[in-house]
Symmetry: D2
């Protein structure tokens, strides 16, 4: 079927390509000429404006947004509100906060435009392996885009589904990422314990490979960890600095709002914050307090 893809970066470009390979007609747009060129270099069809994109699509239109959450998503939705028409479907495949999604859906509803939120997981591997998609929104609209979801998914009937009304897709993806933080931190701590047990001189890559087969902790993240440890077993040259892209924070906030105890997800986030603070004021103050009551020497900077 025909679909517009807004955003041809790392995620959007690969998704457009997976759809193209499945025989769909994808009209791509990205404000960056470089991203558009990358897409035309893959034999894709690109346009230079949202206006042109909408013009190239037959009614009722299907448009997929794959742009950064936040301001850019907001502006794109605002622009499309006047370009799209009754019966068109706009999918937000990015990582918007579900509360923003609810608000955007309400705004588009007045114009008769269906807003569908699709939490998308799979990262750079999605092109080859397919994407996992948690979809929220109107059943009819989602059903109409079934061929798109089936092409993007690992298999037509696997790895995707409508999980509920609009907002539920991004909500579910948010929690998915919260879990991801916890899983990653658990592996990282375990491998760190192994590494620090110098007397056993363990080969962390070998251990990861052993665990990949038959163990209770086998997972796709472990597969990736094994790859990372193979390439660079001592993590040489990598700074101990862990970024976060927002969804972990939202999960922690949501858990608190819902009165759900989520200590591990919370700590996984907090440890990321900690990793970026190489000059911790708390720790300096703790050192000063120990000096105050016990006369313990402080270490100088």
């Amino acid at each position: 079927m025909d679909i517009g893809m807004i955003g041809l970066g790392r995620m959007g470009g690969n998704m457009a390509e997976r759809l193209r390979r499945a025989g769909h007609h994808v009209v791509g747009f990205d404000p960056s000429p470089k991203a558009r060129e990358a897409w035309t270099g893959r034999d894709g069809e690109a346009v230079a404006s949202l206006d042109a994109l909408v013009g190239q699509l037959p009614s009722p239109r299907a448009v997929w947004m794959m742009v950064p959450a936040g301001e850019i998503t907001g502006k794109t939705v605002a622009a499309l509100k006047s370009l799209l028409g009754r019966g068109d479907v706009l999918v937000d495949g990015g990582n918007a906060h579900y509360k923003d999604t609810l608000q955007r859906a309400a705004e588009l509803q007045g114009a008769g435009i269906h807003y569908v939120d699709c939490g998308t997981s799979g990262g750079v591997w999605g092109l080859a392996e397919g994407y996992s998609m948690m979809v929220g929104g109107d059943s009819g609209a989602i059903e109409r885009l079934r061929p798109i979801f089936e092409a993007l998914a690992p298999a037509p009937d696997k790895g995707w589904g409508r999980v509920g009304e609009v907002g539920s897709g991004h909500f579910t993806k948010m929690v998915h990422n919260g879990i991801e933080y916890g899983l990653m931190q658990a592996y990282a701590e375990g491998f760190s314990v192994l590494r620090h047990k110098q007397e056993f001189n363990l080969d962390l890559h070998q251990v990861a490979e052993i665990w990949r087969e038959g163990s209770v902790v086998r997972s796709w993240l472990l597969d990736l960890t094994a790859d990372a440890l193979k390439k660079n077993p001592s993590m040489d040259g990598i700074a101990p600095y862990v970024a976060d892209s927002g969804e972990g924070r939202w999960t922690v906030a949501e858990a608190i709002d819902l009165n759900v105890a989520a200590p591990v997800i919370s700590l996984a986030l907090i440890e990321r914050l900690r990793s970026r603070d190489t000059d911790s004021f708390s720790d300096k103050l703790l050192a000063a307090m120990r000096n105050q009551f016990g006369g313990h020497a402080v270490k100088s900077e």
Copy 2:
């Protein structure tokens, strides 16, 4: 090859069976007549004493222990010390603390007996899917048992390996289980957040199935979680009581000994302890303190 299997319970019985199916000659022993009968019912050969077991095996002997860690393992090793002889290999496939393992290995070394520690993961699924095995000990002894490890593993060259000197196998398995606690807790928290978001009325089993394909959080534990949620989506009739079998505690203690920060693994353990304390003294005292300073009412029991 010929091998003795001590312990024919849930783990040992299945391992003996997997070896038998691979064509090995397994002499089984278990103090429980019922366990022995279960094994002979599977066409296995059982004996009623350690003495008899050792007597049935050609020299140099290979014996695999699959008994509960702690006192029973200690007594079994003590008994075998006088029954086995120079060049024999004794494998401990259980979850002993690596420090106990180091001590036992030292005791057997005097008698020329090789002690091999094999951290074994895979649970009740190992019979069908194979076991993940982290093996520590003398290279020659482990090499001699290669056919055994290859038969127990998911594939001859996958899911097992010698990770180092004796003790390193159980150490690695201990950390494996620590990671497992963290992974489990992360999933449990995430699904709990999803469940408490009543306005989206999410189908947790469906979400788990979607995540199983293509997502970053896909794993074997997620596969099992999906099964559990399919059978019992509301967890009806299951008490919120989470046991622990020791290795999580040891991982936390080891991390602290090694000065490694392991907040997530530690919290995953602590939450298990918390789950079993339905009459928390801390929480009562907190309620009493709030009453003291703020006049906040306490809830009566």
Copy 3:
């Protein structure tokens, strides 16, 4: 000086009384006739409407609000906006979120009314011991109310101060309460460890009394804890249920916003949430997962 006190409950009534005893003329208002009667029973002067309260005060007026944060504070401010006039000072002594305070201050500024936020600590003990007050807002307005702050504080020059522009008082009080959560939880955990060490049969009240003098952990919270343990050493009849009044949550959210790692304050909050969930879905799911992979029995409800 003359001052209006809006809210004559547990906090407001005691503050009005402390001001009255110091010789100030306090006009009190509370929507509840019972609260007004309690105040007149203390020889206080009460009025039955905001209108009347404002009418009783000489210009420029000083009004102190001591009402629940949230909706009630918002409505009271809205009502006072049209009753107060240029140069009047309105103090919010409650636990409003500092962002709400910023917004309210901006609204009143247009009408020339000074909004002062006073984070107030001291609980039911404040009447006798004085209140600790973190004050934000216009320097001149705060200076004009100096006699009020000096009377409420433990001593004229102690326990209070202008900490910055409007909003900073409530912000500082919010963090104060976050710290309080951490302190309380640390004591509660420690006493719980002592209690569970049955072989030493410790007298927790005695231990608290010993610590009150000369130890590093002495504090006012410990004084209160000692009292609570004296009255009820086993916490009999008290449910292990710990409420929270919002400021802990805000502190956790703010720490995350500021990229500050606050693991202890966060966990202290999470443990309160946990205390109220006697039917934890996470824990049920963990039990079910253990059953899935290891065949470990689940406990029935």
Copy 4:
């Protein structure tokens, strides 16, 4: 009364001095000539060997050990075992693990020597303000030393007490220190949040001073924190490196042994470990994992 003081360092020297000022006859010993000179410089009486110390004391003797926990305490006890006699009392005022204390007491009991464990809090302030002492051991022996405890305490009947049989004193002190870790971390986190809220430009020393009077979080640790913030509000020149002296670790281990959930004390310890790891392998691995699945750039060292 007559008492021997073994160890004339920061703690022991001050305690000997406080006893001397109270009119007791203190014979001091320290292996370091410098420490002995410091003591004689305070008009104290010093001897150069344990032998001499025991020789100077009338029977039944009272000896107080104030030496580092661990090996030195063990060696000192071993040496005194043959020097002291039936009816003598040996006090360990240091921070020994209570399990070591139990073992030492058992060894001395055979020789009729009373072993008393005194958990001592108060740090460098104890000389002026008195020490908080949690005492375990034989009632008669402790009663005989009452004048000593009364002199060391903040007041004769305050800040000290026999809490139970031998071992209970050190156990109680261990938990005291665990609580201390939690309290310190709570304050440190709170002040860090305040500091990072740059828009309010708070004066942390001022805030601490306000809180010292009338607030719920007032405490002796806060008094010290206020001092530290007065001297050095930005903690300039202090490395964010927080040592630990063992008792926090033991408290965490004991809580786990007793199945008591102690998340805040545990996290306070873990944060100290984290403060010392400026090259976290976990965090490097997390950065590498993010790169693997999402193509997120890693920061170079």
